[in-house]
Symmetry: C2
Subunit: 106 residues, 2 copies
């Protein structure tokens, strides 16, 4: 199913979703479980919704490993569909996705 | 004043505004008055708001000529600030901005 520009813009117009994207871009694929985004201070159900929206526009791939749900940003695939759009999000100033907000293994 | 990515995405997440942008891209600068967008079937005040939003993110320049308000799409300027974003909008499928919907001099 082809993702529409409308859906992509709607997905990325949300600042929390852009932050999730930037945080995932800052770590290797499949290393960051969904459970490590609690610092974003949104309800767990809201966070699940954000992940679902990002999956829906082809920006995110997820797989379960034991009790953890791991994430991969579909950078190349999304770039092929919407050239330049992801780069704008990653270049945006704002919380970067490492440092105090998230530590491996926490 | 630097336009934020948030403002740009909010502006372009609206399908009517993207259509205005595509229609303006289809004609030479300063040839298309605001009064020729009545075919979009939105209230005049709504249309004014859409134009204001597009001006606000640096996508649109306007000048008055007699009783007409003419438009110029700030393509190069917007492209320099948000590389690739305008191209995605212009490549989007949808009403193109010429043909039956608008005729010069109507």
């Amino acid at each position: 199913m082809e993702v529409t520009l409308q859906a992509a813009l709607d997905a990325l117009a949300d600042p929390i979703r852009r932050r999730i994207v930037r945080e995932l871009a800052a770590v290797p694929d499949w290393t960051r479980p969904c459970g490590t985004f609690a610092h974003l201070s949104v309800a767990k159900s809201t966070l699940s919704h954000h992940f679902a929206v990002l999956r829906g526009v082809g920006l995110l791939e997820q797989r379960d490993e034991g009790t953890r749900r791991l994430n991969r940003l579909r950078r190349e695939e999304f770039e092929a569909r919407f050239p330049g759009l992801l780069s704008l999000v990653l270049a945006e100033e704002g919380p970067a996705g490492h440092g105090e907000a998230y530590e491996e293994g926490r």
